[in-house]
């Protein structure tokens, strides 16, 4: 009987690990993130190609970008990554209260970032920079919107983690789930680190003349 239960436990562990001894879920998440690098790389490249062709039309000028406002959004998203690792550290040491505080703070910071993006889009549209104004504006909206969708999915997952913790269905035994969702959240953050520099900060007009 004891032997049978050991065998069952062993089988259960094996179902969560690859032959390399790695977690299937974590391996899957890293594979997803690797492919997402290519996805966002293609979108950023498309934006740069069309940037070179916008020909300084005033209604779609990158001068519309409000860098101080976006800098604050960027700072909030960066700090949300800090909140995520602190949430993970909390659940790994069985600090449920600390976990709930940090995971909710992270979701809140993600929501602030999204609200900022919606405000920015609204302002751009009022200034005449819409999705269909030119290929350049399409590339801008597709890139930033796809990132925004990723942030939205991340916020929903964070709120789900918080709700599961509140109902006692997420404990330190499930720290691997939190870690995998954390990986996704940090990826969303590093993509924005690149987008912020590539779109908002680099003065291409000085390069292209």
């Amino acid at each position: 009987m004891a032997e049978a239960s050991v065998t069952t436990a062993g089988a259960s562990e094996e179902s969560h690990a690859t032959s390399l001894g790695l977690s299937n879920e974590k391996l899957g998440m890293w594979t997803l993130l690797g492919s997402e690098c290519l996805f966002f790389g293609a979108l950023i490249s498309a934006y740069l190609i069309y940037y070179g062709r916008y020909n300084g039309q005033p209604e779609i000028s990158p001068a519309l970008y409000d860098i101080p406002f976006t800098s604050v959004s960027t700072f909030v998203l960066l700090m949300s990554s800090l909140g995520m690792v602190l949430a993970l550290a909390a659940i790994q040491r069985s600090d449920d209260r600390g976990f709930r505080i940090w995971i909710l703070s992270t979701a809140l910071m993600g929501s602030v970032f999204l609200a900022g993006q919606i405000y920015e889009f609204t302002w751009f549209v009022e200034e005449g920079m819409t999705l269909s104004t030119s290929p350049f504006t399409s590339a801008f909206y597709v890139l930033t919107s796809f990132h925004g969708i990723h942030v939205t999915v991340g916020v929903l997952m964070l709120v789900t983690l918080w709700a599961r913790s509140m109902t006692g269905r997420l404990t330190s035994e499930h720290a691997d789930v939190v870690e995998n969702i954390g990986l996704y959240w940090h990826f969303v953050d590093i993509v924005w680190i690149v987008i912020f520099t590539a779109i908002y900060l680099i003065p291409y007009e000085q390069v292209t003349g």
Binding site: L22, S23, K26, L33, G34, L82, D189, I193, L201, V207
Partner: protein, 105 residues
């Protein structure tokens, strides 16, 4: 697991180290924004912005995503996608510079 692969969860940083990394990220972002507002020549500003972005990227990936402490397999998977994206990005930048050179001629 092979010897080259670190054991999962081994020696993860503690909360104080995470906070230090967070402060460094905030400082780097502030420097980036300051560079974009200052009248820095593009020959200096652009390399500086790229270096700061790469440093921020590396800090988040190695410490917050624990790639520094996790299995080498995860590193390889991520690097595969990242190198592909960087090659694509480099090709586009080269095309942009080539096209702008032709326009000036």
């Amino acid at each position: 697991m092979s010897d080259t692969d670190h054991e999962e969860h081994a020696d993860h940083p503690d909360s104080s180290q995470y906070i230090v990394i967070g402060i460094i990220l905030a400082v780097f972002t502030a420097i980036e924004v300051a560079i974009s507002f200052a009248s820095v020549p593009s020959g200096i500003a652009i390399p500086a912005l790229i270096i700061l972005t790469v440093l921020k990227f590396i800090l988040v990936v190695l410490w917050f995503m624990h790639l520094r402490f996790d299995s080498g397999w995860f590193r390889r998977l991520f690097m595969f996608g990242l190198i592909g994206a960087l090659l694509l990005y480099a090709a586009v930048i080269s095309l942009m510079l080539y096209a702008s050179g032709n326009q000036q001629v």
